[in-house]
């Protein structure tokens, strides 16, 4: 059918034109020599001012802390909207088949392992690659795997909501504490410490811990709610 082919051709032309536009723009960029001076300034400044060995963490939490707070609120809004769309956490599916022994034992074995890895990645976010967001996702995996292995287990939405709310409040409270001590909002407190040691960079590890717990609780609630959503409409 010529009309159907035409309808396919239009979007393809659009995508190709978009790619061409981007290619032209990129061709004007000096690759390998970033023209931005902000990064250079931060590299010279971060170790002395913030005290975090991982400069990405310094940017995320110290230089752009309020931006990260906005990001957390976007994630919260998305999770809340998804919860709103999916409806109240209903009853577990009655007909769900009980998991076998291997699945349940494997999930139970995996749980502490994932918990340790997640917390390690969160707490070392200012020293090594990683941080609250990445570790939070691993924490969420730790809590979702047992639910997937044993669908009959009752969900704990109320406890998750408490963790999420307290973590978010802790993030904001740390920022307000900086305000109370005559600094900018979310400025790192408590001194820089020794560069590269676990207790360093002031409040940055605490902020990342709050981020990690919040992200983990949010994602866990979201995924558990999605597994609860059945094919039938809960009228």
């Amino acid at each position: 059918m010529p009309t159907a082919r035409l309808a396919t051709l239009g979007p393809l032309l659009f995508a190709a034109g978009f790619a061409f536009l981007l290619a032209v723009l990129v061709a004007g960029l000096p690759f390998g020599a970033p023209p931005m001076t902000v990064g250079q300034a931060i590299q010279g400044d971060a170790a002395g001012t913030v005290g975090a060995a991982n400069f990405v963490t310094a940017v995320v939490l110290a230089y752009r802390g309020i931006d990260t707070l906005g990001e957390l609120s976007i994630l919260f809004a998305a999770a809340m909207a998804a919860g709103l769309v999916l409806g109240r956490p209903g009853e577990r599916r009655a007909g769900a088949a009980p998991a076998g022994f291997i699945l349940r034992a494997g999930a139970d074995l995996l749980f502490p392992l994932l918990l340790v890895v997640g917390l390690y990645i969160i707490l070392h976010g200012h020293l090594t690659p990683g941080g609250g967001f990445q570790g939070g996702v691993i924490l969420a995996a730790a809590f979702v795997v047992p639910v997937l292995a044993d669908p009959g287990r009752p969900p704990e939405h109320r406890r998750l909501a408490w963790v999420e709310g307290l973590a978010g409040a802790a993030f904001i409270a740390t920022g307000l504490a900086a305000l109370a001590w005559d600094h900018e909002f979310l400025a790192p407190l408590l001194g820089r410490g020794t560069l590269g040691s676990l207790v360093s960079a002031g409040t940055l590890p605490l902020l990342y811990l709050a981020v990690g717990l919040k992200v983990g609780a949010e994602l866990t609630g979201l995924l558990v709610r999605m597994t609860e959503a059945d094919g039938e409409a809960p009228r």
Binding site: T8, P11, L12, F14, A15, A16, F18, A19, L22, A23, V26, F31, G32, A33, P34, M36, V38, G39, Q40, I42, Q43, A46, A47, A53, N54, F55, V56, A58, V59, V60, R64, D67, T68, E71, I74, L75, A77, A78, A79, A81, A82, G83, V85, L86, L127, T128, P129, G131, F133, G196, V215, L219, L222, M226, A229, D230, G231, E232, A233, P234
Partner: protein
């Protein structure tokens, strides 16, 4: 060799973006639309990270006393933000898709559109829109009746 590397990296990023956008406008299955969105996001993030790249530089993490040149940490922090927000967007989109499937029993966008239109028309008390098989409104003529044979009585 450097030119080839540059070309490959940029082609990869732009190609991912183009594939994602093409899928976004072409796909008829709602789950594929969400996947196309994820692919386009990956391309955009890769493009953003590439802008901070430097030859002969290390990751922006201090490992010792020596200060080797580092890549720009700002685009990496931006991409970290973008990835997290992308996860939120995908979760919301999938939640909407789950509800659509619960309501209409399919994820095919054309079927969903047709069923949604029929539902809205039904709720408004309108007749279903006309098609070749089922024209709208009454037929202009009553269906023809066979002529009565002489001597036959009809009820």
């Amino acid at each position: 060799m450097n030119d080839a590397t540059t070309l490959t990296l940029y082609l990869g990023a732009i190609g991912l973006l183009a594939i994602g956008i093409g899928g976004l406008v072409l796909a008829r299955h709602l789950f594929r639309v969400v996947m196309a969105l994820a692919i386009a996001e990956a391309g955009a993030n890769l493009l953003l990270v590439l802008t901070g790249f430097r030859w002969d530089a290390v990751a922006p993490i201090l490992t010792g006393a020596d200060r080797a040149p580092m890549v720009d940490p700002v685009p990496q922090a931006l991409v970290l933000t973008a990835i997290v927000i992308g996860v939120g967007v995908q979760a919301l989109a999938l939640a909407l898709a789950i509800r659509l499937r619960q309501a209409y029993g399919t994820l095919d966008l054309r079927l969903i559109r047709a069923r949604m239109a029929a539902e809205i028309d039904g709720a408004a008390g309108l007749a279903p829109a006309g098609s070749r098989d089922r024209p709208a409104g009454e037929r202009p003529l009553p269906p023809p009746q066979p002529a009565a044979l002489p001597g036959e009585t009809r009820p």
